[in-house]
């Protein structure tokens, strides 16, 4: 079943009268449970596409159906609700709140669900699933980069979303930490989560089942991965 369906989507940035076309005539369908990598050179529009798919930004033209519903008329409040309950984000630069414990960082989406019950339990569960049960009470600046990205994944997971968007999640990590992160994403996908990964690195992309390449704001290729890399989920941490 189609989780995401976009038709004829354009994105034009307008800065002080200067129009930059970042995406042009994008048509794309992503089904529930897919693991899709979006690839392309720098400036090709990968992040722009991901932001539109994740409701962080709106398309200039075109149609977007999420879980079968046309989202054009959705207001800010409704979109916030979708981001909160249906979508998890993982960013290249982690984006953890400073001077805040690992646990509070992970619990943040639950706060905005106004779901004050079992918060701590659920956050701890999410942290355990990324192998960080022992770092619950650490502050966000007391853990390594790899651990930070796993905290970010736990935060993306905590509200049990349908899809996780990850924009260059391994971009700031060494290869070992990167492999750990990819292993976690693959496991989540095996457990049924839809994963949409943005990367410019082919090897990283080949951890997915399907690779879409973008060039100059248009979809260039869209093909299945034949020899998928499996990031053995090494006994993480310590």
């Amino acid at each position: 079943m189609a989780l995401i369906e976009i038709k004829k989507v354009d994105k034009i940035y307008n800065n002080e009268g200067v129009a930059t076309s970042a995406l042009h005539d994008i048509n794309l369908t992503i089904n529930e449970g897919e693991f899709v990598a979006i690839m392309g050179p720098s400036g090709s529009g990968k992040s722009t596409l991901m932001h539109i798919l994740g409701f962080l930004d709106r398309p200039t033209n075109g149609e977007y159906l999420f879980e079968g519903k046309n989202t054009e008329k959705f207001d800010d409040e409704k979109l916030a609700d979708i981001r909160n309950r249906r979508i998890g984000f993982v960013f290249q630069s982690f984006n953890l709140l400073p001077r805040t414990s690992v646990l509070d960082n992970v619990a943040l989406p639950l706060l905005y669900s106004k779901n004050l019950k079992n918060q701590e339990e659920r956050a701890k569960e999410a942290l355990a699933s990324v192998g960080l049960a022992h770092r619950v009470n650490f502050m966000s600046n007391q853990i390594s980069g790899g651990q930070k990205q796993r905290v970010a994944i736990a935060r993306a997971l905590v509200n049990n979303p349908a899809v996780i968007f990850a924009d260059e999640p391994t971009g700031n990590l060494d290869s070992k930490s990167g492999t750990v992160v990819m292993g976690i994403l693959q496991r989540l996908n095996n457990e049924g989560k839809t994963i949409i990964l943005v990367t410019h690195d082919r090897t990283t992309a080949e951890h997915a089942d399907r690779i879409i390449t973008i060039r100059d704001g248009e979809i260039n290729t869209d093909e299945k991965v034949h020899n998928k890399h499996i990031a053995k989920e090494v006994k993480i941490d310590e």
Partner: protein, 418 residues
Amino acid sequence: MNKFYYLQAIKGLRRNPSRTLLTTLGIVIGIATVILVLSAGAGFKSYINAQIEEFGSNTVTIETRIPASTKQRAQGAEGGDTAGVAVPITTLKKRDVVDIARLPNIAGVYGASIGQAISVYRDVSKNAFLFGADASRFAIDRGVITKGRAYSEQEDRALAQVAVLGNDIAQSFFGEEDPIGKTIRIGALNFEVVGVYARRGSGGFSNDDEQIFIPASTLQRKILGTDYYFYLVASLVDNTRSQVTKLSMEDVLRQNHQVVDPVKDDFVIKTQDENLSTFNTILSATTFLLIAIATISLIVGGVGVMNIMYVVVTERISEVGLKKALGAKNRDILYEFLYEAIILTLLGGILGIILGTFLSFVVAQVANAFGFAWKFSVPLIGIVISVGVSTAIGVIFGVFPARNAARLSPIEALRYEP
């Protein structure tokens, strides 16, 4: 009060300790300054009012003045002025007191001379101020004699060696002992203590509590070796006719002093209203100055808070973006900042009131220690205005940038570079 926003705000404040500290400090200083300034203003007014009270109502003072011609010769300056200590004018005599007392609308009049002498009782010795006044002063002055009595007209005329003591000097000489009937030594003479004043505690121009009051003629003839007064004080029956009375007093004095040309007057008469007008000028100038200072400190404090709020909210726009990405609604963002601003301004307000009150208290204590009749008070209006203004500034400038940030799309906020 919403628990969710409250908790988020507390977390937000903890996450930004420097902002929390600086903003609170800005508010604390602003409010404390305003309270201090207004309290000091009220204290200063209470002091001035006490001074006005000291003059008594319905009184007219006659002071000496260097006549214009003499002064011109002496200093090459124009016009006359109140005589300083340097060039004594010796023309105010008993005769002037007697003649003025006969004028209509005069309730009483006395002359006063001032001296200083080593005064001794047993082993206590003080260089005391001697206030030599006619006995008629006791009917005019507001001081209350709590022990013993005043000296009489007859004693004054007879150059009697009797003294009424200010409360403090009586205390230093006699302590618990009863001073009445005791003999103290003033200069080379023995005086009998006949009365003691209640404590006046006014301080200021002269401290009555430290003075020894003796008959004017005794002071003049027996200690100073003179026969003139330093100034006269008259009290009027009807203060509304003070200007007419002043004119007739001038006539009497000119006649007695053989002055024809008013320019050569060797005295100057000031009615109560004229004396008060000086004070009132001081008072309104002071009030104006204080309001100006308070306004400036509020503006300075407010601009400080405004800047800090603006800068830190701007710095936190990417945090706003992250929260929006995680599902925070515009309202959530706005309320978090609003609660933060309210908590900050309340905290700063309370600390500012405490600090301002404490400093005002210290100022009042210091002023009292220096002998000024300075009442400690914290004007409620100062608290209301300063807390109101700083809260408004804190909330407005904490929330406006936040509202703009909340309206950005999540990605614009995430990518925002301050």
